[in-house]
Structures are given as C-alpha cells and as structure tokens.
C-alpha cells in the first residue's frame, strides 16, 4: 500500500491531548524534513489544526516509514496520560486517499461541512511544496493527490448543501445579521455583559465588518479588555441605555438573574419608531431582554434558544447531505486510484516512446543523406511531419495502456504490447 495517513483527530483524542500533538506553523517544515529523513518516505504533507494532526505519506517501504512517523509524533507530544499510539490511527492505501478527501470536504470535521478546513489543507499542501531540493516533500503523485483533494472539497460544497447554513451560535447570529443588514461593513455593535459567548459572537461580527464596537459590563476592567481587543470602547454598565439608540446590533450576555432590558424602559429610552432595524441577540440564561420587545416595530430579537434551533436545523440538513457527499468522494477516490494505477504503465510507455523516437531519428538521418539538396526549411518540415506522425500513431496505444493499468488489466495488455513491439520487461529496447 503506497499511501498512508498517520495522526489523530477530535474523535480519537480530547483537546488537551490534541494540543500536545499540534505543530506550530514555524515547526511544520522541520517536522516534514524529519519524516522525509526516515526510510521509505517518498512524499509527505502535514495537516495540523486545532482538531487534527495528520501526516500524509507516499511510501516505498510502508511499515518502517509508519513506525518512524509514530515516533516523530510521540516526540512532539511529550508526556501523555496514555501511550501516544493509543490516540493515533493509521489508514492505508485508498482508505488514506478517502480520508484526505473526507477531511478537505468537511465530512470528517467536528462541525460537519465546515469550510475553513479547505484553506487549512491548501496551506498544508503549500507548506509541503515549499520544501525543495534534497528535502523535496511533494512530487508528482502528491501534487495530483492534493490538487484533486482540493477539487473534491470544492465539488462537495458546490454540489451538496453540506456547508450551507450556520453551524454555531455565533455564526447563526452573523447569518441573521446579514439577512437584515446585507453587508455588515460600518455597522455599530454593542455587547452588554462581555461573557465568553458574547465575545465570540462579537468577534464573528467584527470579522464581517462591524465597526464602532462598544462593550458595557459591570466589570469595567473586563469591558476595557474586550473593547481593546476589537478596537472599540467600553462604557459603564449603567450607561448602556444612552448608547443603545445608536446601535444596529446588540448582544446581551450578562449573568443577571432577571431581564435588564425591560419593555417599559425600552419604550422610555428608545425612539417610538425605530427608523432602521435593531438586531438584538440575547444569549444570556435567564434572558436579559424581555421577549415583548421583539414585537416592537423594526426590532429583531433572537434568544439563545432561537439560535440553537437554527443551528440544529442546519445540522440536520447537513447530515442529510452526507450520503451525497460520500458518493462524490467515492467517485473521486476511484478516479484518483485509476490515475495512480495508470502510472504502472508509465515505464513501459516511456521505453516504447524512446524506441519509436530512436527509429525515427535513425530513419530521418538516412533519408536526409539521400536528400542532400533539401533546403533547411524543408528539412524542418519533414522533421516536424515525422514527429507528428509518431505522436498520432502512439497516442491511442499509450492512452489505452494507461486505461488498462487504471482498471487493473495492465498485466495482460502490457504483456501483449511487449510481445508486439518487442520490448523486454525492465530491460533496454
């Protein structure tokens, strides 16, 4: 089996173990070089994210090389509660190819269908490609494997709904905000309470272009810290009402035991008719905002339960798309495998072409001796003509031999070709 993947992911190891195996971006090239030093490794790539650390290997001597990679991973992790190999998995041959295709498509992700992994795989591939010379990590086979993997990821995302809809509370909030405001660029956002989930939601909104971030919290030090992180300003908790009329998006996440944004106060402090929409995300338990506020004109109020409902519905929809995604992956694994198997015909094809070329050269030389009077331009024409004829004659048998090798019929077909063209196995023409 010429391919293998060795690694761990969110299914086989908890986060405190995964982070020990993870490679920082500055450590990646050294890790790749170290694996390449091992016996039997022809090509290697390393994917290291918060949810997985995996070495992809193209091997000439599988077992020795795999042991070497396991040692490398064990060295990276240091001391662990259990032996390193308890967290690791090894997949070989077409299973390894299938695994890569699943990873890049988001089928193997913690959040089913997540899209960031496509970029992470692309980065891993680029990092491996950056190693050149003696330590070249990616050659023809891995170029093809990773390019096809990235194409599979794109195909799964365009032909299925695996990546559609928000898959987390913060991304659900962003999705809703975008349906209200369109672009979030230049919108003003406020977080009241500055809890972890509020901060995470604010981060997602800022990533989408929300500016003028304001943080109101009873803990001013915490408010200032969060505000600084997003280039915003902090405000005393008691003053948040003064800022509220200026906001487009408000996230509430306090630990208050009762609603802080009451209908009565809202009516007193806010304009009677809001000209533009106000999107309120209440992710506190118990709720910070009285639900009746959501009935007011131009106010869109969503609680954490509403967002969870969206996320659950999207997750179910994504799950329903899995069979389609897996069918695409199966199809593409077959295609890759056919291409890879087709490489078995390459040495024979090369010898066949070399022999044909040698015959052409010899015959051409002989002919030109007899056609001494031909001017240089005509000689060139004759030269090109013979080359074109050769190409055309050899094209069909070459394609058929590759096809036969891809289908596993290479033995009989190549035997027949050797007999017909008089080319010995592994020998000279």
């Amino acid at each position: 089996m010429p391919f293998a993947v060795v690694g761990l992911n969110h299914r086989t190891a908890p986060v405190e173990v995964r982070e020990k195996f993870a490679f920082a971006s500055t450590e990646m090239t050294d890790a790749l070089a170290r694996v390449l030093e091992g016996k039997g490794v022809a090509e290697v790539a390393l994917i290291s994210t918060c949810n997985r650390t995996e070495f992809y290997l193209h091997l000439t001597e599988p077992e020795e090389a795999i042991s070497h990679v396991i040692e490398t991973l064990a060295d990276q992790s240091g001391e662990l509660p259990k032996p390193a190999d308890r967290y690791l998995y090894v997949r070989r041959g077409s299973d390894a190819v299938q695994h890569l295709y699943k990873v890049v498509s988001g089928v193997d992700s913690m959040v089913l269908g997540e899209v960031q992994i496509q970029g992470q795989v692309r980065e891993a591939y680029e990092t491996a490609r950056s190693l050149t010379g003696q330590r070249q990590a990616v050659r023809a086979v891995f170029n093809r494997l990773f390019q096809s993997a990235l194409a599979v990821g794109g195909r799964v995302r365009s032909e299925t709904r695996l990546s559609e809809g928000a898959a987390s509370i913060p991304s659900a909030a962003v999705e809703l905000a975008r349906k209200i405001f369109g672009s979030l660029r230049g919108r003003r956002g406020m977080v009241i309470g500055a809890g972890d989930m509020g901060e995470l939601t604010l981060e997602c909104l800022v990533d989408e272009g929300v500016t003028s971030v304001m943080v109101a919290s009873r803990n001013m030090a915490r408010a200032q810290k969060v505000a600084e992180k997003f280039g915003g300003s902090s405000v005393a908790f008691s003053d948040f009402w003064d800022q509220l009329p200026e906001m487009d998006i408000v996230i509430t996440c306090t630990a208050a035991p009762h609603a802080m944004v009451t209908l009565e106060e809202f009516r007193r402090r806010m304009p009677a008719k809001l000209k533009s929409p106000l999107f309120i995300v209440d992710i506190a338990i118990p709720r910070d905002v009285e639900p009746d506020i959501g009935e007011l004109p131009n106010v869109f109020l969503y609680s954490i339960d509403d967002l969870k409902t969206i996320v659950t519905a999207n997750h179910e929809r994504r799950e329903a798309e899995l069979p389609k995604a897996e069918a695409i992956i199966e199809d593409e694994v077959d295609n890759f495998w056919k291409w890879y198997s087709g490489l078995r015909a390459v040495p024979f094809i090369r010898r066949l072409r070399d022999r044909a070329e040698s015959v052409r050269q010899t015959e051409l030389e002989r002919a030109f001796k007899q056609l001494d009077h031909l001017p240089a331009t005509d000689r060139e024409r004759v030269e090109r003509l013979t080359r074109d004829i050769l190409q055309k004659v050899l094209h069909q048998p070459t394609a058929r031999m590759r096809e036969a090798a891809g289908d596993g019929r290479e033995h009989d077909i190549l035997e027949a070709a050797r007999y017909l063209f008089g080319i010995e196995e592994g020998g000279d023409v």
Partner: protein
C-alpha cells in the same frame, strides 16, 4: 421575424422563471449566475424583436396593447438583467421574471403589430412621452416587487421562520434600497413623461383633456408614486411602512387599470 425573436425571448424568460422557482422551492440561498445568463440571452432576443419590429413597421413598438406590453416587458427584463450583475439583488427576478413572461405571452397572443390607432401626435414626442411613461411603470413594477419581498422577508425574520424565503430572498437592506431606487427612477421618468404628454397635448389641441381615462389613470399612477415616495422620505414612516405604501399604491393603480379597461373598453389606452 420579430415574432420569432419575441417568442424565443419568452421561452428563455420562462426557463429563467422555472429556474428561479426551483431554487426557491429547494430553499437554496440566492440565485445563480446561470439564471442571469439565461435572462441576458432573453434580453438579447427581446432587443432583436424590438429592433426588427421597428425596421419592419417603421415605428417603435409603443402603440397598441400588444406592442406596448412587449416593450414594457423589455424594460422590466432589462431591470432584471441589471440586477443580475449583483448577486445579492438577483433573487428579485423570482417575482419579476414571471411578470415578464406574462406580459410577453399576452403580447404574443394579442398580436405584436401596429394597431393603426390614430393618436394626435406621432413622431419623436410620442416616442418620448410613451417611453418615459414605460420607464416609470417599469420602475414601479420593480419597486413594488422589491417592496413585496421586503415585507415577506421582514415577516419571516420577525416570526423566526427561516425557511425558503429567508434563504432565497435578499437581505432587508438590499430590498429596501432597491425598492427606493426603482421608485425614484420610475417617478422621475413618469413625471417627465406626463409633462411631455401634457405640453404637447396643449400645443396640438390647445387644451388638456382631463376627462380622458388614460390621462386620469396616468395622473392616478403618478399620485400613488408620489405618496409612496413621501412615505419613504418624509421620515414619519418606518421602512416596512414605506414598503407597504409602495405595494398598496401599486395594487390600487393596477386594479384601477383593469376596472377602467372593463368599464370603458373603447378608450385608447396605450397599454
């Protein structure tokens, strides 16, 4: 020949309508570039039909119900094509493409040929007057479609129903801006169109025929657009209320047209 071009355009618009509807029914987000390409192809044939008509009959297809519907639908189709450049606005074609199909099929059934209507002033002024009025109506059709979608999307977001409307329709802000721009353009064109018509009627007849049903309807349409604009820019209404005024005003004028045509069938409506 012009009929063939119009018929091909109608088929392409129908294909685009089906494509819009399928994507909406599957609750997919937004419309794809493919549907925009189909619309562009439709507009290409539609323009060819328009030009061939002009070459054959020596006048623009603006007089008579059939030619008028064909030309009005061309303007709406051009608006869809324009929106096709912006992926966020593209889904508005869900409502507009079937309108184009309906207008064009009606035109084909009625017959797209000069009716021989004897209007008082032909030539470039008629062309200006009717073209501007058509721009006005087309703008209003687009504005009303965007406003209707705004109201539906608003309702879905308020009630937290995140189904096909939520997924397929554009964001509220996009719909609001689109309704606003289309109304402003439509109203400006309509105002100019009415002014041109008025000035030249006075010049030819020395008086404006106030009792003419088409004049009454034109003025009613202009007033309804003015009210919709007032609702939008007065600052006294929310965006949702402005959209509501827009849709209700459009519906009233649309109904008035049918009532007028049924009650006074002999009148010379250009539509």
């Amino acid at each position: 020949m012009h009929l063939l071009a119009y018929a091909i355009a109608a088929v392409l618009y129908l294909a685009a309508s089906i494509r819009y509807a399928m994507r909406f029914a599957r609750a997919r987000p937004g419309a794809t570039a493919l549907v925009a390409i189909i619309i562009y192809a439709g507009v290409g044939f539609h323009l060819a039909g328009f030009a061939l008509y002009w070459v054959r009959f020596g006048e623009a297809p603006l007089v008579g119900l059939g030619p008028s519907l064909a030309s009005l639908s061309l303007l709406v189709a051009l608006a869809i094509a324009g929106m096709g450049l912006f992926s966020s606005a593209r889904p508005v074609g869900l409502l507009l493409a079937p309108v184009v199909v309906l207008f064009l099929l009606l035109a084909l059934v009625i017959g797209i040929h000069p009716t021989g209507s004897e209007l008082e002033f032909r030539g470039p002024w008629l062309l200006f007057h009717i073209s501007l009025a058509f721009f006005g109506y087309a703008g209003w059709v687009v504005s009303a479609a965007a406003a209707s979608m705004y109201l539906l999307q608003f309702r879905e977001l308020k009630h937290k129903r995140l189904g096909a409307v939520f997924q397929f329709f554009p964001p509220l802000e996009t719909l609001d801006k689109l309704a606003e721009w289309a109304l402003v353009i439509g109203f400006s064109a309509m105002t100019l169109g009415l002014a041109v018509g008025w000035a030249w009627t006075i010049r030819f007849e020395q008086a404006l025929r106030i009792s003419d049903p088409k004049v009454i309807w034109g003025v009613l349409a202009w007033l309804a657009m003015l009210l919709a604009l007032w609702a939008r820019f007065s600052g006294m209404r929310t965006n949702r209320q402005a959209a509501l005024w827009n849709v209700v005003g459009f519906a009233v004028v649309f109904l008035a047209y049918f009532v007028a045509r049924m009650l006074i069938p002999e009148t010379q409506f250009f539509l």
